[in-house]
Amino acid sequence: MVPLSHYLALSVILFVLGAAGFILRRNIISVFMCIELMLNAVNVAFMAFSRFLGSLDGQLFVFFVIVVAAAEAAVGLAIIIAVNRNRESLNIDDLDSMKM
């Protein structure tokens, strides 16, 4: 058996990679992909616990997370397309008109 800690380590590494990418990437699409990566890292953690605790609750929650991620991706991509039409740029640093 692969020990639980391995799965959790995988989850943490994926999450940290996703978070780091989320902060450091310039392209908006890359930022979205990192968001998806963070969500999937959490899914891995849920599945691992579900398996090791013998409860199906974790797997159910994964369904919820996937659905939410899909919906969010749809909306987010729509927003990006709208913003791209206005600003002709996919650089996240160019979206700064909400400053004081």
Binding site: I23, I92, L95, D96
Partner: protein
């Protein structure tokens, strides 16, 4: 007709008059305005007379009449009702005040005819009458203080009546501020009185004072007495708080007559007389009262010698005569002080009203050096002025002689009398006769020094003004006969009339160590004062009528002394230097610039604003619009939150 209703009506009549004139007077014609005014004053006088009659014929007199109309203040021990106290002293005061006020209201109809603000003047005058009557009929110190402050307010309003004139509004402020100093003393004294006796009603407090064993509490009583006297010093223009009264002559002449001669300034004397038992039990304080009165009388008389402005001379004369009243109270003959208060009200207001008549004739000029020979054109004014001058000089037969003589006799042989007080008083009497006749000669007798333009304007005043003059002249003669001196075989009826009021005080004073002076007999005491008066008159007439260059030569020989007297001993300048300027400078440089503008405006108000802006300026940098920095903050927050949870579990 019961007494409580009469007294209430007596008080309400002028208040109603003041309100009517104050609110709607602007739209009313002059005759109606003055009718409301002298009508209310007249009703007040009638009610005062009726009240006097009801009281005198009631069986309970001479016991005082006390009636409480409603509870005004009730706070623990402190209880002050709207209550009126009527005894023989109140009777004398109310009659004097209402009669003189009524006559002056009548006179003002004529005097103020061509002045602006007619309705305002009469409204204030009626309000003053209401306040003064409240003062003299109050049954406790707080209510009396209401009247006290009220007359001060009306005095300020009326002195500064010509408010567009800088000197007039300054004089009003000066009067109010200087008397405020006295009022502060009064308030502290009353507070101390309450602290000691737990009551502020006259009857209660006086009974408790009387019940004290002889020398106990004397220190406290002396302190209370002196503090309350400070109030009297301010209101009645004694040393050192007299400086406002000469300046108060900026007000219209009827104001000078009513407020600054006959009534308001006598409130201090009334206060001391009403509190006679307090002073009798604190002989030290009473001695100071007498001393201050005597010195003020002499001091003011010396200044009056060299004044050239007719009204100013009369103002200093008022200060001097008030000194006499305090001298009378201060040596223990309270009734004599009140007697002089009454006679003085008549002849002094007459003097001022006559001066107003002269002023009208002279087209506003008051410098006596530009007058002379006016008795030919102003016959009635001259005759009445002469009668009043004879009265104030203490010439036998006129009112002032009887009252002044009683005070001087008291100064010599009264309970706290000292011979030197008598001698100073007699010298002052001589000076009084001198400067009054100097004024008379310069104004009415001799050659006319009137300027040609004004000559045509000279005319006797209308009957509206001369009739009150004549009535007052009559009073200035007969008012003295209510108390024929003992020395000349009389019974001093006035004194015996007021005896029930002052007997507790007289009893207390009887216990002070007596002293006998092997000196003048009572007859000589009276004789010397008459001689002093006659000498004063003779010298004045000689210098200012017969041979008119002696004053000139004396002025040259004693130029330094003359300068000092003309400049009123430089007291105003002294006060300005010592008190007014430091306060102004401190207020301007420190309190205004540093404290108000700097600390309060700068630090508290503007500073708070600036600080908020600065903090905001720092905090707004978080809102950069940069999405990545937002993301970083979110992540940081999440990490900290997780750490917190792990650490505390």
């Amino acid at each position: 007709m019961n007494l409580q209703l009469l007294l209430l009506l007596m008080l309400l009549a002028p208040l109603v008059g003041a309100t009517l004139n104050g609110i709607s007077g602007r739209r009313l014609s002059q005759p109606i305005v003055s009718l409301i005014a002298y009508g209310s004053a007249g009703f007040s006088m009638i009610f005062a007379i009726l009240a006097a009659w009801v009281y005198s014929t009631s069986t309970s007199q001479p016991a005082p009449f006390l009636h409480s109309y409603f509870t005004w203040i009730q706070a623990g021990d402190l209880r002050a009702d709207y209550a009126l106290y009527y005894d023989r002293l109140t009777l004398v005061m109310t009659l004097t005040v209402t009669v003189v006020a009524f006559l002056i209201h009548l006179y003002s109809r004529g005097y103020m005819e061509h002045e602006g603000g007619y309705y305002r003047f009469f409204s204030y005058l009626n309000l003053f009458l209401f306040m003064m009557l409240t003062l003299v009929t109050a049954a406790n110190y707080p209510l009396m203080f209401v009247g006290w402050e009220g007359v001060g307010l009306c005095s300020y309003l009326l002195i500064g009546f010509y408010f567009r004139k800088r000197s007039a509004s300054d004089a009003g402020k000066k009067a109010f501020i200087v008397t405020r100093i006295g009022d502060a003393g009064f308030s502290v004294g009353v507070a101390l009185l309450f602290w000691t006796f737990h009551s502020l009603d006259f009857q209660t407090v006086f009974a408790r004072i009387e019940a004290l064993p002889q020398t106990e509490f004397e220190g406290t009583l002396t302190a209370i007495a002196l503090l309350i006297f400070l109030g009297a010093v301010g209101k009645s223009a004694q040393l050192p708080l007299y400086v406002w009264l000469p300046d108060a002559m900026e007000g219209p002449t009827p104001v000078s007559a009513l407020i600054h001669a006959a009534t308001m300034v006598t409130a201090g004397v009334y206060l001391v007389a009403r509190s006679s038992i307090l002073y009798a039990r604190a002989p030290g304080a009473l001695a100071i009262v007498g001393l201050v009165g005597c010195l003020t009388a002499l001091f003011a008389a010396t200044i009056a010698l060299t004044q050239n402005d007719l009204k100013r001379m009369l103002a200093y004369s008022t200060i001097s005569q008030l000194g006499y009243m305090f001298l009378g109270c201060g040596v223990g003959v309270f009734a004599a002080g009140i007697f002089h208060l009454m006679t003085h009200a008549f002849f002094k207001s007459l003097l001022f009203l006559a001066a107003g008549s002269v002023m009208h004739a002279m087209n506003g000029e008051l410098d006596m050096r530009k007058m002379g020979g006016l008795r030919h054109k102003l016959k009635i004014t001259h005759a009445t002025f002469l009668i009043a001058t004879l009265a104030i000089s203490g010439v036998p037969g006129f009112a002032g002689f009887f009252s002044k003589d009683e005070i001087l006799a008291g100064a010599y042989e009264g309970p706290l009398g000292q011979p030197w007080l008598y001698w100073l008083g007699t010298i002052t009497a001589g000076l009084t006769a001198f400067y009054m006749f100097r004024g008379l000669c310069l104004t009415f007798w001799g050659k006319s020094r009137v300027e040609p333009e004004t000559q045509h304007h000279l005319h006797e005043s209308s009957s509206k003004m001369t009739v009150p003059l004549m009535v007052l002249a009559l009073f200035s003669i007969v008012a003295g006969y209510v108390s024929w001196p003992r020395v000349l075989g009389g019974g001093e009826a006035f004194d015996r009339y007021l005896e029930p009021v002052f007997s507790p005080a007289q009893e207390a004073l009887r216990n002070t160590p007596p002293h006998h002076f092997e000196g003048l007999s009572a007859g000589l005491v009276m004789g010397f004062s008459v001689v002093a008066a006659l000498v004063g008159i003779a010298v004045a007439v000689w210098w200012y009528w017969k041979s008119t260059d002696i004053p000139q030569k004396l002025t040259e020989r004693f130029a330094g002394l003359h300068e000092i007297l003309v400049h009123k001993y430089y007291v105003d300048e002294f006060y300005h230097c010592l008190i007014v300027r430091p306060i102004c400078v401190t207020s301007d440089k420190f309190l205004w610039r540093k404290v108000d503008a700097g600390a309060i405006d700068g630090v508290l108000v503007d500073g708070t604003g600036h600080a908020t802006a600065r903090v905001g300026g720092v905090l707004r940098r978080i809102q950069s619009g940069n999405i990545r920095s937002y993301a970083t903050w979110v992540l940081l927050g999440a990490v900290l939150w997780l750490l917190y949870i792990f650490v505390t579990r």
